[in-house]
Symmetry: C2
Subunit: 199 residues, 2 copies
Amino acid sequence: MVIYVIGYPNKKQTAQPIASQMHSYSGRGMSLEHDLNLSNTYYNECSRALIHKKPTPIQVVRVDYPERSAAKIVEAYYKTPSTTDYNGIYRGRAIDFEAKETRSKTSFPFKSIHPHQILHLKRVLHQKGIGFFIIRFTSYDETFLIDANTIITMYESEKRKSISYDTVKSCGVLIQQGLTPRLKYLDAVDQVYFKEEDK
Amino acid sequence: MVIYVIGYPNKKQTAQPIASQMHSYSGRGMSLEHDLNLSNTYYNECSRALIHKKPTPIQVVRVDYPERSAAKIVEAYYKTPSTTDYNGIYRGRAIDFEAKETRSKTSFPFKSIHPHQILHLKRVLHQKGIGFFIIRFTSYDETFLIDANTIITMYESEKRKSISYDTVKSCGVLIQQGLTPRLKYLDAVDQVYFKEEDK
């Protein structure tokens, strides 16, 4: 089976036909990644921050060089990411986060977080960076920022396999949505990490 | 022509047979990227810093899903990078740099720096990050750290198409080489950016 894809799929699901994607995001047709990329472009352009999504790591095995054309990769595989997807600089601080969405109405399952990403965020916090998760509950069209420490503590507790929607709501901060930026997530960052400085 | 490659080639040259690569690095067989990756692994493991090479951006066009096997990318192309190759956190500061090597004995040509990378480093400096270039003159097996501001100023001067070896030597800092880490480039960062604090 051969499927044409647009952009960088992280997993098979994202390679669905566009129509099916439209449906799955309640007709909005926009994924969390898309919203974050638009928001980051806006934040970068207006010099509020400098945050990028890292390219999806791909292991290239075979490259074809057609004459007078660009190199064409003809065999490659997705690699397991060893870091989070997003990082950059905000208010002079290093910022690093992972964004995930779930269709569940009750909880965010930890199985969608890779152990490498937990290790990476622990290192970010150790180096005095700002680390967090952005979690979207697509059923409610609600997106939260939640500090990495909160997630790491629960992730490493053997009894837990997920974090409930209610816990995300009470421990995290709801990210306001708008036109530009689509996700005003730096306002949430201000609220969580710069509250004292902004007084 | 089909060529099998190891790792992530940025340009056609890196897809040379291994033997030819060995030769071009004076028998050391190690590229600057390889040395930096080893050094970063060491720095990350000993918790001195958290610095990674970003994956090479690749535009995936076609993916094949063989039954019961991993997704196989069968058509993809290298994209022009919109940022630098390396970033991370060191001493609580965001750090961002580009690494380049040249075989020239007299100068480092600016044509190997992409305009997007200059724009990105300007934004890094604006956001109070630490930005620099690591430039290796392979003929001398000498690797220098040079502040982004120095390169940007020269790059944007219309008369200049390159920076001479002598200028790199006088304006930059020679990076000491060793076994672990291969390139002691954070010592050079200390020297350039933390001299006052370390007094």
